[in-house]
């Protein structure tokens, strides 16, 4: 029995904007299950009093001074987008969002 359901996989795929077929849903549910099972091993370790790690290197307080640096030329910036208009990136209209 999978700990992750087809519905959950479908939901995750939707959140990640991935198109997944019905067959793939079953396949991925099974594969994700294996991954989750393996990760459970880690949950057995006692981590009381251990600070969470977000970095592989023990760096803290890496800051930058508030000094402006040159930006990219606009032609180069816009060249990276699929479509532009009026010096802006053109994107399909956004549905079902704010009124």
């Amino acid at each position: 029995m999978s700990t992750i359901s087809r519905e959950e996989v479908a939901h995750l795929a939707r959140l990640a904007r991935l198109e997944v077929t019905d067959d793939e849903l079953d396949a991925f549910a099974g594969q994700l299950d294996v991954i989750l099972e393996s990760m459970k091993t880690l949950a057995e370790v006692n981590t009381d009093g251990v600070q969470p790690t977000s970095h592989a290197v023990p760096l803290v307080n890496v800051f930058r001074e508030d000094q402006p640096q040159p930006s990219l030329p606009r032609e180069d910036v816009l060249a990276g987008g699929p479509d532009t208009a009026e010096d802006r990136f053109r994107v399909p209209r956004i549905l079902d969002e704010e009124a």
Binding site: Q51, F63, Q67, P70, S71, F89, V91, P92, R93, I94
Partner: protein, 495 residues
């Protein structure tokens, strides 16, 4: 058609619980995680780089000035500054962020557990601050093809990423119960106080009309003694007046639904500036699944206690203290000062005084005639088309005897209509007090001739009767005479 209850009736039955989320754009020179300039109004997409466009391999580095500004805000709001804090990714797909996530903070905000005290109607309310965290602003989308430039009806959207990555501070209150009928006024007072605090720190220009301070208003209703209700979140609330109106509208709307036995959905609504309504937006269920995780590209932060204390020691005089000082300097009573604060007139009066007017003169105009005009047109006082300098000039003309109060009000008409500074308006409209005593004496003679019985009374010692003659002279001079001077001429002639 949305059914709305009468507000007073609604708050007799239900108890509102408020919650406020405020976003403040910091005025650092550069963005949060890259060196791109933040200058407002630049040509579209001229202030972007690999970091804020999220090109592969680009690495963000946090702006120290933004961290300091946020700590200062936290300190001014009586918060605890975290010993250990980090950024997190908030994942969502929306073209306003090229990264497909927003760098924000999740479980470890920079500042927590503070408060702001505000006074409404003589009563103090403590608004508890849950958290103050740092994130980045989004790009600006222009919706094309719709009738009004809004998303509704748009056929496509155009995106400018100049704003994407500008440091944004989010300040979240805990739920605020117990405000009763005054919920709208408390929400407004809190927003105004927060704005004034941040402005005093000099870390943002906090201009609501330009979007550098943006407000989301949460509101729920419950019956007395029962659990808190389901809340709605109203976005797009962009003036102090709108904060008040949005709360009022939601109280009226939600109470009508509850009266009808319907339930309130937890949803995002949008405030409509023109009508004062709130309208349903996207449903929340899908949107809240942001799958936050710690940002691996940024180092954690451990603000040292020395650094925090250094910033605390450098805090300026905060608004509450400043108001106490100004109240003493202006010699105002508590009630009068409260009116000044409620009218959002502290800065305007201070600027007028700085321009050379007596405090009483400045207070008189801003709380009197100008407040009345602002109320009539449904505007904020500061939005009126008259500057503190112009008010000072106006009062100067009154002090010099060139204008009386009645003429000054006509001059205000002209200034508000864009006819220029007070002196220009007075000249163009011919609104100076008649100081030609020859002309005044002639007008007085005419008035005496036209009112012989009144003149006799005054000759007989009843000076109070002079009012009738003064009125006649004022009428004859179209109000352009100084009443005191006229009175003196009348009494001289009739004694």
């Amino acid at each position: 058609m949305t059914k709305l209850n009468d507000y007073d009736k609604a708050v007799e039955t239900y108890e509102p619980v408020l919650g406020l989320e405020t976003h403040i754009e910091l005025d650092t020179h550069t963005k949060m995680f890259c060196g791109c300039s933040t200058v407002f109004g630049a040509e579209p997409n001229t202030q972007t780089c690999p970091v804020c466009l999220a090109l592969p391999g680009a690495l963000p580095v946090a702006n120290k000035a933004a961290i300091e500004a946020t700590i200062k805000i936290g300190l001014a709001l009586n918060c605890h500054i975290a010993e250990w804090t980090r950024f997190a990714r908030k994942n969502y797909f929306y073209p306003d962020m090229p990264k497909n996530f927003q760098t924000s903070q999740y479980e470890e905000p920079l500042c927590e557990n503070g408060y702001v005290d505000v006074v409404v109607d003589g009563k103090e309310y403590r608004i508890e601050i849950e958290r103050v965290h740092l994130e980045e602003d989004t790009g600006k989308t222009l919706h094309v093809g719709g009738a009004t430039g809004r998303i509704h009806g748009a056929t496509e959207s155009l995106v400018d990423y100049n704003r994407a990555g500008i440091p944004l501070v989010e300040i979240v209150t805990r739920p605020v119960p117990g405000t009763g009928a005054l919920a709208p006024e408390v929400a407004r007072a809190y927003t105004a106080e927060l704005r004034d605090i941040v402005r005093s720190l000099g870390v943002s220009d906090v201009r609501m009309e330009q979007g550098s301070l943006r407000c989301d208003v949460n509101l729920s209703l419950n019956l007395p003694g029962e659990e808190w209700g389901t809340r709605t979140e109203t976005k797009n609330v962009n003036s102090l007046r709108s904060v008040e109106r949005a709360v009022r509208y939601e109280v009226r709307r939600q109470s009508a639904l509850l009266d009808a036995g319907e339930r309130i959905f937890q949803e995002t609504r949008h405030f409509q500036e023109t009508t004062g309504e709130t309208r349903a937006g996207r449903s929340k269920e899908e949107a809240t699944d942001y799958r936050y995780f710690p940002e691996p590209d940024l180092a954690v932060m451990e603000p040292s206690r020395e650094w925090v204390e250094e910033l605390r020691a450098g805090l300026p005089e905060l608004p509450r203290k400043r108001r106490e000082r100004l109240q003493a300097e202006w010699a105002l009573g508590d009630k009068e000062m409260q009116s000044v604060v409620n009218a959002d007139a502290v800065e305007l009066i201070q600027a007028t005084v700085d321009a050379g007017t007596s405090p009483s003169g400045a207070v008189k105009w801003w709380l009197g005639e100008l407040s009345r005009r602002a109320n009539e047109s449904g505007e904020e006082l500061a939005a009126l088309a008259i500057t503190p300098k112009q008010v000072a000039e106006l009062q100067g003309m009154v002090d010099d005897g060139r204008l009386n109060d009645k003429l000054a009000r006509q001059v205000i008409d002209g200034v508000l209509a864009g006819e220029g500074d007070p002196a220009d308006v007075a000249a163009k409209r011919g609104l100076e007090v008649v100081s030609d005593t020859g002309a005044l004496e002639a007008a007085v003679d005419e008035a005496i001739a036209a009112n012989p019985a009144v003149a006799d009374k005054i000759r007989g010692g009843t000076h109070a009767a002079a009012g009738v003659l003064i009125g006649a002279v004022m009428k004859a001079t179209k109000g352009q005479a100084d009443a005191g001077t006229v009175r003196q001429i009348i009494l001289d002639k009739l004694s």
